[in-house]
Amino acid sequence: MSLLRSLSDGLRSLFRKEQVNRELNEEVNSFLEMAAEEKRKQGMGRKQALRAVRLERGSLEGTKEVVRSAGWESYAETVGRDLYFALRQGRKNPGFALSAVVVLALGMGVSLTIFRFVDAALLQPLPYASPERLMSVNESNAESPRWPLSYPDYLDWQRLNKSFRSLDIYNGSGYLLQTRSGATAVQGERVSGGFFQTLGVRPMLGRDFSPDEDRPGGPNVAILSYGAWLHHFGARRDAVGLTVNLDNAAYTIIGVLPRSFSFARAGAAEFWVPINTLSPHEQMRTFYNFWGIGRLRDGVSAREALAEMSAISKQLQMQFPTSDRSEGASVVPLSEVILGDVRPILLTLLGGAGLLLLIACVNVTSLVLVRSENRRREIAVRGALGASRSRLVRQFATEGLLLAAFGGLSGVIFADWLTKILWRLVPKDMAADMPFLAGVGWNTHTCTFAIAIAWMAAVLFTAAPILRLTSQQPGDGLVNGDRSSANELWQRLGARMVAVELAVAVVLLTGAGLLGQSLYRLLHVPLGFDPDHLASVEVGVSATGTEKNQQTVALYREILRRVSSLPGVESAGISSMVPVQCNCPVDWITFPGRPFHGEHNTVDERHVSADYLTMLKATLVRGRFFTDTEDASKPKVVVINQALAQRYFPGQDPLGQRIADYEGGRRSEREIVGVVADVREGPLDSDIWPAEYFSINETQDPYFSLTVRTRQDAGAMLPLLVSTLHQIDPDLGAFHEMTMKEQIEDTQTALLHHFSAWLVGGFAAMALILGVVGQYGVVAYSVSRRTREIGVRMALGAERRGVVLMIVRQAARMVTLGVVVGLLASLGVSRLMASMLFGVNSYDPLTFVAVAVILAAVALAACYIPARRAARVDPMVALRYE
């Protein structure tokens, strides 16, 4: 109530100033008059009485001032006046205001954007119940710290452990969904029954898996993702209870997951089914196919859990000594597994954005300083007229706050725009693997961050000119305007700030240079085949089962015959997987006649048609490729790559030798008939693994990739490939049609490198521009201040060339300082980045030298312009100057 009155009263004083003032005047006046009257009664003269009252009670004006300044409205009024003054200053000098706001918006916008991604990925908890208790629980071995579990191992781990409240497994799979319009490929995920409970997620509609559905031989049921419910069932409430046809089997829908649910490791999986049907492989203890997650019991730490699981793993090895001895367990936080890949790149980007923000702030601070320098006389006059120091400080603070507020606001708008652009650059497949990025946006963290950086900037812009101006006596400014010793101090300060900017630019340029080089190296690693003019499409055959095997081979032949005869197709081939994707699936091989101690001889396993390797233009080193007649009825043969030959047959002729593996529990042996020069099957940044190629006519995969070499543009061939496949059989699933170039560029490795190189490159370019503009500004300013001095020098006979040299030499000193400091800092920063680099040393001398030369050249060019302008000064004009 009284707050309201105070408010309305204050507002009245603000907006009906005249009236309030008149009332106060009258009231105080009558007070003083009455007091004077009293004095007169005691015998004083009128004048004398008024004087005595003024002494005793205070003067009219003084009292009015005291009363006026006691209310809140007087404070508001001062702030308002300061604001108005600051805005007017900005309008009077739009160049300054605009450039400062633009530079700030740039720096703040970029760092805000990157911080929003960092926040979404690294600061927001995973969307599960107490996510910090969720662990990724897996096997480990000598080759890999994290290796999937086999199903029997999982059952034993689950039964024996005491560390986890629950332990579950998951494994990705794909299905052909039969719809009225034909078959479409859908992503699925097989999970053990307690998977969603372990995560702490409950279906939005319907129910979770029941225990009998989890047991082997249980009924076919599926839980839909929210997306699948939306796209395939039109968000119908009665979708639960319907059946769908997946890979020619009927699955009953029992539930729909909430919209907010995501599981990064399952990508955009639409159909979640229980693991109740196991293939013969999957029942083996040595078939490692399932990833585990577990929820720790209260009070159990990850380390204790790891110790227990390792012990269990050892115990199982004693019991079932078929597998190798190096096996252990791995227990790491689930967040580590989900975010491990993006963490370094995000932190690098955040670092880069931070540096950019630093440059922007330094740049604007030096602008503010230059301006305060120009206003020194104004400040001196105001000081001399009685403005108190705190009043002047408040004026600066208002201007600093206003600048930071405008910069911050523009930065927020810029950040929104930039976020959208970045989002659009992330391919859809990759976005599905990073569901946590959907949380990019405004929340407490990001708002706090925005306010914090704006606040810091405001403090900087306030403190700099205040420290600068209060270090001198007010008299200085009045007496000699600007040619005082303080001017030298400012020049040194300005030079130091420019050196900081240049140093930061060096760091960013070095980072961009290293990342750019590693991107180049990555895109130019030897592939072992010709990726140009290749188009591929993945194919799924829904008809499976032994009786269909002959049909599968016939289908391969029909597809290859029809596709090869298409106009524009040079050759065609079929393979279980296209190259440059993954060092998976793998096979463990043994060599008949050699001693075997359970070691893992891991090789990539690919199934290919007879002409596939020829079509890729892979080089045959020895022997031959397959023939079309080599199917399951013929003696088994294998083609190996050079890496396999060198590792396992050093100094021998591999042709005619045999290698063996266990497929589905049955040992099979194959004779080596050919050696192919290494084709890159795994990701761009990995070493070439040994690889074996089987005839696909022998293995008869129901899922495969069809690849053709075209005469013209490969992309134009894609629709024709799909329609031809559907002509052959409308029930064939055809999906992921892409050119080989796209396939390679869309791999996560290539994308991450592209992203970091381009973003850091962009930061570096902005930093370079800001740094050089800052450099130009400082030199130009100092030249304009030294016009008279230069005039004197020239009048005394200095040559133009000499003047230019003098200015450039002085500037060169700060450029050198900046570059040297920047290079030293880069040495440290590049070491932190080492994990993101490919094929380039983090101390790559070429990059460092190139950055130093480029930056020095550009910076010196920036000061050459004002230096030449200085040299063109007419001595007579300069001497008369001010």
Binding site: D9, T63, V67
Partner: protein, 110 residues
């Protein structure tokens, strides 16, 4: 002689003004004179602190004001105690008494 409110015990000026107004409404000078008389010249207030206190009390809703003619037919602003002000005066007086008694006990104890 005390002439600055800071020399008054903090916060007592408001209470004293309320007390002055408890009997009848009064204008600024009247209040000043009354305070002086009652304190036998100990509290002589300058106009500034007095009027700031008036503004404060008015905004807190403890007093209200009206323009009236004085006995010398001069126009002056009269301050009137509100109900809220009267309640506040009572509670503050009680509190004051309690504190003074307590302070006295402490001072006498040694």
């Amino acid at each position: 002689m005390v002439d600055k409110p800071s020399d008054l015990v903090q916060g007592t000026l408001d209470m004293l003004i309320l007390k002055t107004l408890a009997l009848e409404s009064m204008h600024g000078y009247g209040i000043a004179v009354r305070l002086e008389q009652m304190s036998k010249g100990v509290f002589r207030l300058n106009a500034g602190s007095l009027f700031v206190a008036f503004q404060r009390l008015q905004r807190a809703g403890l007093v209200r004001s009206e323009w009236k003619a004085t006995e010398n037919s001069r126009r002056a602003k009269y301050y009137v105690l509100t109900d809220q002000g009267r309640k506040r005066l009572n509670s503050e007086t009680r509190e004051w008494g309690r504190q003074v008694a307590a302070i006295a006990r402490i001072l006498e104890a040694s």
